[in-house]
């Protein structure tokens, strides 16, 4: 690899069900300007744009990056648009990092967003395939049977999902950008909330949010001179597998396990549970936290739920997960992956304020998408090596 990449600027918008106070370009500029301000740079200092978002049908605007390019200072610059389903926010950051690592650009602005209130995300996700039956109601309808399969396979206590949801919803109060900040959230409130797709309850489910997240990435000599310490990208990994095939394990997908192993090997990490201080991972339905602990190698197979039950993933635990409140608290679909990557970077730059993990030096950002088939992840650290 020719070059090392540092995250020198991070910007997020306030996430909400409907950001009717801004247009689409306005939403993106809110995040982009914050990232540029964090890096103390202007539009002219950026060499290329990498934009990521989920299906165009979520806003009813085709190839929206074309329309948005000049609002982001893109005129005369290279503009790429990544789309890898739900993992897109993460993949976008990975593609942007490779532009720096390949030595092609000095500074890249990457931004991922969704203004899904403009269309109807539930409709967009309930794929009514031609020649098929519309029985899978949204993403939850696809994942609920998988969650049930995990419960059976692992023998996990039935309230594991409630405990993760409670933790994330409490963490959200410490994140000024979070969409859902529920007053007096409690175990019983979550347990009593309506079942949407049995066994997943309403308060164990992510919201639909509008929002954007932006990162400024720079090559190492420029990152070293940035006004605030950079988050060094130690490694990135992406893997994909087909949606359905005979013998597929949808509960502990091989693509996720392989990507994680590759990620740790490239970063020189031998014991992830010990060497990684905290993680921001993609948990849109609370049971996924337990499942991803296994998939990421933080817990042995079948035991991820123990980390949840023991409080290991709480802010004060030994492997804090989703300190920001996670996808359960804010979910602009195209941005959610990049928000995880950004929050991981904020932790190692000591920028996370009330939800900061003290002394965090190395953090994992993770995203997944499709039918649990696309995975993108990165490790960032305050140390370059």
């Amino acid at each position: 690899m020719a070059e090392r990449c540092g995250v020198v600027g991070i910007g997020q918008t306030k996430y909400a069900a409907k950001r009717i106070d801004v247009s689409m370009p306005g939403l993106l500029r809110e995040a982009a300007l914050r990232a540029l301000e964090d890096a103390e740079l202007g539009w002219k200092d950026i060499d290329a744009l990498v934009i990521g978002k989920a299906p165009d049908t979520f806003e009813g605007c085709m190839l929206p990056e074309l329309y948005l390019s000049d609002a982001l200072g893109g005129t005369g610059k290279p503009v790429l648009r990544v789309h890898t389903a739900g993992s897109v926010g993460g993949s976008t950051a990975c593609v942007a990092a490779s532009l720096i690592e390949a030595g092609i650009h000095d500074r890249v602005l990457t931004i991922a967003y969704e203004k899904q209130s403009e269309s109807n995300a539930m409709w967009g996700l309930t794929i009514s395939p031609p020649f098929g039956v519309a029985v899978v109601a949204g993403a939850g309808g696809f994942f609920a049977p998988i969650v049930r399969g995990y419960m059976r396979r692992s023998g996990a206590p039935e309230d594991t999902g409630i405990r993760t949801a409670l933790k994330d919803r409490q963490n959200a109060h410490k994140n000024p950008y979070a969409h859902l900040q529920i007053d007096d959230v409690s175990y019983d409130m979550i347990k009593d909330s309506p079942m949407l797709w049995d066994p997943i309850r309403y308060l164990e489910t992510c919201p639909s949010s509008d929002g954007a997240c932006a990162l400024v990435l720079a090559r190492s000599d420029l990152a070293k001179k940035a006004p605030r310490p950079p988050a060094w990208v130690r490694s990135t990994a992406m893997r994909s597998e087909p949606t359905m095939f005979a013998g597929r394990d949808t509960i502990n997908p091989l693509a996720g396990r392989t990507a994680a192993k590759d990620l740790y090997a490239k970063a020189g990490i031998k014991n992830p549970r010990n060497e990684i201080d905290c993680a921001e991972i993609y948990v849109p339905f609370s049971w996924f936290e337990a499942m991803w602990m296994e998939n990421l190698g933080f817990a042995p197979e079948g035991e991820g739920w123990k980390m949840v039950q023991e409080g290991a993933t709480a802010l004060g635990g030994d492997m804090p997960v989703n300190m920001s409140g996670g996808v359960l608290s804010s979910n602009p679909i195209g941005a959610s992956g990049m928000i995880r990557f950004a929050e991981a970077a904020m932790q190692v730059r000591s920028q996370a304020g009330a939800h900061q993990v003290e002394g965090a030096k190395t953090a994992l950002g993770h995203a997944y998408g499709g039918g649990s088939q696309y995975f993108s992840m990165w490790i960032v650290s305050s140390e370059i090596a």
Binding site: M1, A2, S23, M24, A54, P55, D56, T57, F58, E59, G60, C61, M62, L63, P64, E65, L66, Y67, L68, S69, D70, G74, T75, G76, K77, P78, V79, L80, R81, V82, H83, T84, A85, S91, C94, V95, S98, L99, E101, A102, G103, I104, G124, L125, I127, P129, M238, R239, S240, E241, P242, T243, F245, L254, A255, T258, G370, G371, Q373, Y374
Partner: protein
């Protein structure tokens, strides 16, 4: 920078594919490109594709395409919601990082499935322009009118581009429109959107394209004449039509400079010009003067598979070089209303 070469290329185009779905069209094209690459599928380090959900009429349209590429065991893979030419760019960048040494690039789309010109209206400003539903042919026509008035070129000059393209397409098995026709015959037809007639507009069709690229010396070991990507760059112009001079393509000029078009002689160029007047604008922007052969394949006017047409230009140029019909060529791809975004690459045979 690492040297990266195109080692194989395959495409399929047809007027309208009613029997097969996108995956079934893609499967043999990918198989052909992988086989011709000389690399076993398991050795290909990265896969990247280009496609559009709105074109397909389904969100997450690219997901089912994974079935055609053998993504098991899991693969390093990515996707851009852009023409395959940009998927090639992302793959080329991945090879530059040194993480992988080869990549499979593919794209597909059924442009004949919906009313493409209407669907493309959704790429315009969603607040002030798209609600008027200006179709893509009319947007191109605005540009054509401005171009004719500024340069003094005529509708006959545009028709001659179509005449030449169809004549050259006779030797292209993948072209959908081919044959001998005169400018007078073409000019007798009514306008589609003045000053453009049917022959000035692309022939939208269904199809898929695949290509394999390899870095370094390995390229020479797997095929007799790899085609090196000597330079590749892409740029974008502002979206608002009134803000730019539609008779020029500044993004193409910048990309051509960065890709090194002017550094040495060019034998021929494959330009993605879906409309006749755009070929003239782009030829100028690429700095191609004199007798450089333009679009020996016939170009987008004889086969326009949206999301693949740009990759097809690059592939057609590479195939021509591999066959010994030239040594150095320019290939170009465009996207967006009235040539808003452009990619240029310079190819050179071993």
């Amino acid at each position: 920078m690492r040297d990266v070469a195109i080692v194989s290329f395959a495409q399929s185009n047809c007027a309208k594919e009613t029997e097969r779905n996108e995956v079934e069209i893609l499967l043999p094209v990918v198989a052909e490109a992988v086989k011709a690459s000389g690399l076993p599928r398991s050795e290909i380090g990265f896969t990247c594709s280009g496609s559009s959900d709105f074109l397909q009429g389904q969100p997450f349209a690219f997901v089912m395409a994974l079935d055609a590429v053998g993504a098991w065991p899991p693969i390093k893979e990515s996707h851009v919601e852009q023409d395959g030419a940009w998927a090639l760019y992302e793959a080329w960048v991945k090879l530059q990082t040194g993480e992988v040494d080869s990549a499979l690039v593919y794209s597909f789309g059924k442009s004949a499935a919906g009313d493409l010109a209407e669907v493309l209206a959704l790429t315009l400003d969603p607040y002030c322009v798209a609600p008027l539903w200006p179709d893509a042919d009319s947007i191109a026509a605005l540009q054509a009118r401005a171009f004719l008035e500024k340069t003094g070129k005529t509708e006959r000059d545009l028709a001659e581009v179509a005449v030449r393209s169809r004549r050259d397409a006779k030797s292209n098995p993948h072209a959908v429109l081919k044959g001998d026709v005169t400018a007078d015959e073409l000019l007798a037809a009514p306008y589609v959107s003045s000053p453009l007639r049917a022959h000035d507009c692309p022939i939208n069709c269904d199809g898929a394209t695949a290509m394999v690229i390899v870095a370094g010396e390995r390229a020479k070991k797997v095929v007799p004449r790899p085609v090196w990507i000597r330079g590749i760059d892409h740029r974008v112009d502002p979206p608002a039509l009134g803000v730019r001079d539609l008779t020029r393509s500044p993004s193409t000029e910048i990309a051509a400079g960065k890709a090194g078009v002017g550094r040495d002689r060019i034998d021929f160029a494959e330009i993605y010009a879906p409309y006749t007047h755009q070929e003239l604008i782009l030829k100028e922007a690429l700095g191609l003067t004199g007798g450089v052969t333009i679009n020996p394949s016939g170009g987008a006017l004889v086969a326009h598979t949206l999301m693949s047409c740009g990759l097809n230009r690059i592939g057609d140029a590479a195939a021509r070089i591999m066959a010994g019909k030239g040594d150095r060529a320019v290939a170009h791809a465009t996207q967006g209303p009235a040539l808003q975004q452009n990619l240029v690459c310079v190819l050179e045979g071993e």
